[in-house]
């Protein structure tokens, strides 16, 4: 049983197709990188898989069942820039939002939820900032709060949209440690990633995406110069860099 199976997914914004016939299968208990240039449709892919935007065609199966958000097996870390950080709330409150699916309608988070949320903040090294207004956190700290919120969802599969963008080196290390920990617990983690230099270090499996899936599979066999060529087109500066990155063999 695969955690995620996507078949023939097509998504369009105002008739302009952004993803075309995307199909892939995600192996269980692995760290998976979703790689592609800006505008390749990486965020769109995550949102369509999670049912946040409508699909034109296609099917998404999570553990062999058609995916419905209510099943609460999937956690989500959006791009940090997707929310207004001036919103009147503190770090703990944001993490508690991860519990809302478990709490149910009309009820308020209880003591247990708060303990769990504090626990999640601790896992990302943010326990001292629980009552800090979110606009007063640094970019890296905000990203950690988003991660803690996803942990609070207590899911089996995690989707994270560019968690490493705009964070300091310490946060990047903390995040990758956390991802490996999740993997150790048998969870499946899909991460949209930008920095090609770290792909080989971070991920077991990659999906190269640019409107279509260019290639997918274990990082070793898939993250090749030829496939990167196809994914990124003929950006020369990049290709020179790509030679250094991928062409070690």
């Amino acid at each position: 049983m695969n955690p995620v199976e996507v078949q023939n997914l097509t998504v369009a914004y105002q008739k302009k197709p952004v993803l075309k016939n995307v199909s892939f299968t995600v192996p269980e208990g692995k760290l998976i990188g979703i790689i592609g240039p800006n505008g390749a449709g990486k965020s769109t892919l995550i949102k369509a898989v999670l049912g946040m935007i409508p699909k034109a065609t296609g099917e998404v199966r999570v553990y062999d069942k058609l995916y419905r958000a209510k099943e609460r097996v999937v956690g989500y870390v959006p791009q940090r820039g997707s929310v207004d950080w001036d919103f009147p709330t503190n770090a703990l409150d944001v993490v508690l939002m991860g519990r809302y699916g478990h709490i149910g309608w009309f009820k308020r988070p209880g003591k247990k939820d708060k303990e769990l949320a504090l626990n999640c903040l601790e896992k990302v090294g943010m326990q001292e900032y629980a009552t800090r207004q979110i606009s007063q956190l640094s970019g890296g700290q905000q990203q950690r709060v988003f991660l803690a919120r996803a942990l609070a969802q207590d899911a089996k599969i995690y989707f994270m949209d560019e968690p490493f963008v705009g964070v300091d080196a310490a946060t990047e290390r903390a995040i990758i440690e956390l991802l490996n920990e999740l993997k150790q617990q048998g969870k499946t983690v899909l991460v949209v990633h930008h920095d090609l230099q770290t792909v080989k270090d971070y991920f077991d499996h990659v999906i190269l995406l640019n409107i279509n899936v260019i290639a997918e599979g274990p990082t070793e066999d898939t993250f090749t110069l030829k496939n990167l060529h196809q994914t990124y087109g003929g950006t020369l500066a990049f290709l020179e860099k790509g030679d250094i990155l991928v062409g070690q063999k």
């Binding site: 609460r72 929310v83 919103f87 939002m97």
Partner: protein
């Protein structure tokens, strides 16, 4: 003038009027703070203006000025306006702010035309229909206030019940959807609550200034707190205070339209908040900077002196 106020405040009808404006202040303050954070203040303005044709059409159909049906008419044309705004911005290249401006002026223009028609026609007793433009709290009678009280209480209770859902929907709508919340339904529910809060207020504040009642208490409240729950409560309190003082000033001082006085009071509260709020207030910031400068200068002097001794 003190005597006048005392005498009038003892009057049962006056107490009804005051209660009415307090309640509308609370409901518009509460819904307004969520609308502000959802960046829907402009939609609120459009809805308020767009309720005018609904009021006129209902009056023409019924031939009498009975508040409940008039408010239903107002709500229908207000919702219709939000529907038009959404349709225009999603099915054409026109952006939302332009669509809002367009719908607001078309509906309001239509409302004014209908209002002119009403005053020329021979239908029933049309006195007081003009009050919907700038608001006339004094025109409220006991039964009206009971209706407003019921509506305002209901709106506040629903908002309280849905607090957690509205919070995540406002902060991070995509995450809310990922949690499995029916975000489309919630959006619609919130819009209905907002339209209802507007409709409850137009009798006393008027269609032109109603949006100010949604926005001003909410912005003022934001200055004092970093917690959403406290912001909503405070905004309701500011709304209620504006309602009371606006009504007192307009009714007993001058007998003029209530809306402008309520809004002026709300604006006064805003300026107080802007200047004196802890943390965010301008004066507080200014004092802090002054202290910091002094300390820096002090340290600089010390350092210089230290150097001159070497």
């Amino acid at each position: 003038m003190d005597d006048v106020i005392k005498i009038s405040l003892a009057d049962a009808n006056t107490q009804w009027v005051l209660l009415g404006t307090i309640l509308l202040g609370i409901s518009s303050g509460v819904l307004g703070s969520i609308a502000l954070l959802r960046k829907q203040s402009l939609i609120g303005d459009a809805v308020a203006h767009a309720s005018l044709p609904g009021i006129c059409v209902t009056f023409l159909l019924l031939g009498e000025k009975s508040l409940f049906p008039l408010l239903i008419g107002a709500a229908i044309s207000g919702l219709l306006a939000t529907f038009c705004i959404q349709a225009i911005s999603s099915y054409s290249i026109i952006k939302e702010d332009t669509a809002i401006g367009l719908v607001l002026s078309v509906f309001f223009g239509l409302g004014i035309v209908l209002l002119t028609k009403v005053s020329q026609s021979s239908v029933g007793n049309k006195s007081g229909l003009n009050d919907f433009i700038f608001g006339q709290a004094a025109a409220l009678v006991g039964s009206d206030v009971k209706l407003m009280a019921g509506a305002a209480a209901l709106l506040t209770v629903i908002t309280w019940l849905l607090f957690k859902e509205l919070k995540v929907l406002t902060f991070d709508p995509e995450f809310a959807k990922g949690l499995g919340l029916p975000t489309k339904l919630l959006n619609f529910v919130f819009l209905t609550l907002l339209v209802s809060a507007i409709v409850v207020g137009i009798q006393a504040v008027g269609v032109i200034l109603m949006a100010a009642m949604l926005i001003t208490p909410a912005i003022s409240a934001r200055y004092w707190t970093d917690s959403l729950a406290r912001m909503i409560v405070l905004s309701g309190v500011f709304g209620a205070i504006s309602g009371v003082f606006g009504t007192i000033f307009s009714t007993f001082g001058t007998g003029l339209a209530t809306g402008p006085f309520i809004v002026v009071t709300a604006t006064f509260i805003f300026f107080i908040s802007l200047l004196f709020a802890p943390e965010r207030g301008l004066l507080t910031k200014w004092v802090k900077r002054l202290r910091l400068n002094k300390r820096l200068q002090h340290e600089l002097v010390l350092r210089k002196e230290g150097k001159s001794y070497q």
